[in-house]
Amino acid sequence: MGWYNKRLAKSIWVFHVSASPCNNCDIEILDLLTPKYDVERLGIKLVGSIRHADVLLVTGIMNQKIAPKVRKIYEQAPKPIFVVGVGTCPSGGCCFNDSYNITHNRKDVIPYDIYIPGCPPKPEAMIAGVAKLMEVLNE
């Protein structure tokens, strides 16, 4: 799928899934669209439907109520889809690992491709993360 991925990397359309985050990564993702960062100049666009997306931005620790819905969203996505875990929560669980309601095996629900750590990651870090993904796609 090398030829496909190369075309994909020219303009990545992302869909944002909030799986029990604290909102902070989410407002920073929205911040990317506003005049200071304006990611649309890089061809990155936040889309309204999962059917249009190339990349899923997943935030949060994914509680047990939302995990099946996140799985459903992932299944509805046209493949190939790349999953980016934004924030500390998807990778390490932040401070919620003792909770009764979180999904511990988040990787089994949806396969994450890259993680962007930080609580919350700076918008610059998020742009760098997606740029890294573009690099991989271009290989």
Binding site: P21, C22, I27, D31, T34, N63, I66, C95, S99, Y100
Partner: protein, 397 residues
């Protein structure tokens, strides 16, 4: 409810593209009019109270900061108030001013965030881009004070974690001056906008009676003429020594909620300026070191941007709280939908749902499902079409 062919259900959620949290609403509509609303929450439940009881006091503050990314000063502040209430711990005067400064900066950033999203919902993306552009200086000030754009980690039991030294005050002041000027411009522009006015006036009215009965707090109740504000009712930190007004309006519609928030931002810049002045003159420590907390109970209140945050802790003399209860403002504000959403056209439902500034901004987009066949009509499109229609009527083109 009696089965009626004209009644349709409009599910909103749980995932909304573009925006933040996952929430689910089920609107019952008759033609274009909303007759009933049902909500399903719990998509964001992470068990904070349970985890907090296993953490030490300092870790608890770190944890409650992560309840909400937008109120990430309000929760820790209410939490430290609760822990300080157990032993009646005093905080140094300088720490009080720093707390109030951080709290008010957060209020400005939260209200600007809401203003932008409200503009986005009704199809005014200019307003969105504008207000989020001028939200950046606030985040920059936060970064200068605490080192992070969100999640500041400033609060400690008995004071604050970091000092705002005179050099930083010098850097902050020009940014605040610039921000003040731009905020005044935004407030004047938004208040004069004829389209915004006709789109929001008289929409989603929450009467004073309903606001009292449903225990609404914050701007939601103040817009309905209920003058409740923890900052003046029970002044803690530096609020007792500062000069500011509580904005109260009478009508309870979305326009009044907008006006309350706009004017509150100006009051907040006033408070920030006073705090910065005081930080130049008030010297002293920033933290009373608290070694241990005795057995007892404590409550903490703070006026978050959305309303009153309430924390209750019970301690038993160890380094953990044995009970930690949190009541967030959105929890009491969300039920007001059942009063304010009834009988309004569905195009206005979106902005009415957003008007209480719920701690999820997910009401952005929805699919309309009729019977079993998903016949997709864009909720946002309906709202935007209405604004466009009003704009044409006013401007005549």
């Amino acid at each position: 409810m009696k089965l009626n062919e004209n009644v349709n259900h409009v599910p909103v959620g749980p995932f909304h593209p573009l925006l933040e949290e996952a929430e689910y609403f089920n609107l019952t509509v008759e033609g274009e009019t909303v007759v009933d609303i049902d909500m399903d929450i719990g998509w964001m439940h992470r068990g904070h109270e349970f985890i907090s009881e296993q953490k030490t006091f300092t870790q608890s503050i770190f944890l409650v900061e992560r309840i909400c990314g937008i109120c990430s000063t309000s929760h820790p502040l209410a939490c430290v108030h609760a822990f300080e209430d157990v032993d009646n711990t005093d905080i140094p005067e300088r720490a009080a001013y720093i707390r109030s400064l951080v709290g008010e900066l957060e209020r400005i950033h939260s209200h600007l965030l809401w203003l932008g999203l409200a503009g986005h919902f009704i199809g005014y993306d200019t307003l969105w881009m504008w207000s989020w552009k001028y939200r950046e200086p606030v985040l920059q000030m936060m970064e200068i004070i605490s080192g992070n754009r969100n999640h500041y980690g400033m609060m400690r039991i008995g004071g604050v974690a970091r000092d705002v030294d005179p050099d930083r005050v010098k850097t902050l002041r020009p940014i605040l001056d610039m921000l003040d000027k731009k905020l005044k411009m935004i407030v004047a522009a938004a208040k004069d906008d004829p389209v915004l006015k006709s789109r929001l006036k008289g929409v989603g009215v929450l009467t004073k009676q309903d606001a009292i009965e449903m225990c609404a707090t914050g701007p939601t109740s103040r817009a309905s003429g209920v003058p409740g504000d923890v900052r003046t009712d029970e002044p803690n930190d530096a609020y007792g020594w500062l000069d500011f007004k509580v904005i109260v309006t009478e009508n309870g519609d979305v326009w009044d909620k907008l006006v309350v928030r706009l004017l509150e931002m100006l009051e907040s810049t006033k408070i920030c300026r006073q705090c910065l002045d005081k930080l130049n003159t008030v010297k002293g420590p920033i933290l009373n070191d608290v070694k241990e907390i005795s057995a007892g109970e404590g409550i903490g209140r703070y006026e978050a941007p959305r309303g009153e945050v309430f924390h209750y802790v019970r301690t038993d003399g160890t380094n953990r709280a044995i009970r930690h209860k949190v009541r967030a403002p959105s929890y009491v504000n969300i039920p007001t939908y059942s009063a304010s959403c009834k009988g309004i056209p569905i195009a206005d439902a979106l902005i009415t749902l957003a008007s209480v500034d719920p701690c999820y901004c997910c009401t952005e987009r929805a699919l309309r499902v009729k019977g079993e066949h998903p016949d997709a009509i864009d909720f946002l499109k309906l709202s935007r079409a209405k604004t466009e229609r009003i704009r044409r009527e006013i401007h005549g083109h």
